[in-house]
Symmetry: C2
Subunit: 229 residues, 2 copies
DNA sequence: AATAAAATATGATATAAATCACCTTTGAAA
DNA sequence: TTTCAAAGGTGATTTATATCATATTTTATT
């Protein structure tokens, strides 16, 4: 397995920056950002922050993937979002004035930069472009979650799994979807056993193929058809 | 039935302003707001805006209630939020750069003011307090929806109904909850028949009482216990 | 007041999905 | 390389909830 080691990435040559809220930053902005951020290597399954704790800053993913999840009454995780390179994680709590309502944990080895709360809020205050980007992002996520709620309420698990696989396929881009069955179940919102059975159905229907844990999408159109959207 | 008629409410003596994002406005701000807004009377079940249309401004509820809902594949409504007096409806779409992803319809006769997109965005641009309030509001709603998703995924309909009734009780304040069984079902995320049956159970358990359509909460603690939160 | 049209309610039935129990495979660590 | 825990998988069973059908009540409209 290719061991991603710790590396200090500068904002200037951060490959993920293009896709991020910092994409429009000029050199002066970038220098400021570079001066305040710190860069860390995270192992797989390492928490960035956990529910109910106080936010101390935001996390900018240079490389890797992070799951954002809430916990229900009995402690079962519900994955709300999967963040990939370029995404800033945890900025919602910067504005809410409340502790985190969700937790964030890496799904794979990751390089992630940290920007302290004050530095981040200062950037937002002085940079209208960044600010507008954030307001846009908050709004888009709000819409996304309205759809999420509606799907949960009205679609069957089979439909949600099909829709989730297509969505995850986009997040994983070239790579194959690489999640434990439990994480996948917690994203779809079902029991692990049910997920495994339905995934098997999809295999039998030649919609997907599995390579141990990894899931390869064979028929995106077919999945979309099942998802009904 | 007390017929609420059209009345022109000025921002200065708007009773709902205290609870709104405009509560911190100074006199100069209020004058500006007053100059740009228009005030309308809405009948029951009248749409403010509908999914996929282009946003033209925001709606500020002076009196009445509004349901915000998405539609699933087969057109079934999923109510995402119930807005009451003091709330500003539709501002999410001001920042997203996209058409509405949800619809908004009055649940009762309402007095609602309209602020055009440019005027509103101008206010947000020039008023840091309002802007921060909005960012905070967007963030809080995002957290609320994470919980909503988790409840949908992990709680039974019975639990969700209990939790919904408590939530609605707060929204309706002194009044009794006054929603069609279908709307209530679309909020809880279930079939109307199932909702009616479970509501009957709650009546038998002396948790609620109904007066035709209206629902009176008799035992909030008991409901919270069932809701499991 | 009469009539139509929604909304509410109830019963019967089907089924998707959860749960529990158990076994097998995989992969990390010693 | 062995070992052991975690993850993946299968079967049997139960149940919550959707769906369909139909009756009754409430509300709106003529």
């Amino acid at each position: 397995m290719p061991q991603k080691s710790h590396k200090h990435v500068t904002c200037e040559n951060c490959l993920a920056r293009d896709k991020s809220l910092f994409s429009a930053f000029c050199d002066a902005n970038l220098d400021e950002l570079e001066g305040t951020k710190s860069c860390s290597y995270f192992k797989k399954n390492q928490p960035l922050f956990i529910e109910n704790s106080s936010p101390r800053g935001v996390y900018c993913i240079n490389e890797g993937k992070v799951k954002i999840f809430a916990r229900g009454e009995e402690g079962k995780e519900q994955i709300i979002h999967l963040a990939a390179a370029g995404e800033i994680v945890g900025f919602r709590a910067m504005f809410s004035g409340e502790p985190y309502k969700v937790s964030a944990t890496t799904l794979e080895e990751s390089n992630i930069c940290f920007i302290g709360k004050n530095d981040f809020l200062n950037l937002v205050d002085t940079n209208p472009t960044l600010r507008n980007g954030i307001m846009k992002e908050l709004s888009l996520e709000l819409a996304e979650r309205a759809t999420f709620i509606t799907n949960m309420a009205q679609k069957s698990v089979r439909e949600r799994l099909a829709s989730s696989l297509v969505l995850l396929n986009d997040i994983y881009e070239e790579e194959m979807i690489n999640l434990t069955r439990e994480d996948l179940a917690n994203f779809v919102g079902t029991a692990t056993e049910t997920l495994i059975r339905l995934l098997k159905d999809f295999k039998d229907e030649n919609l997907v193929r599995t390579h141990a844990r990894k899931i390869e999408i064979l028929d995106k159109e077919g999945l979309l058809q099942i998802a009904g959207s």
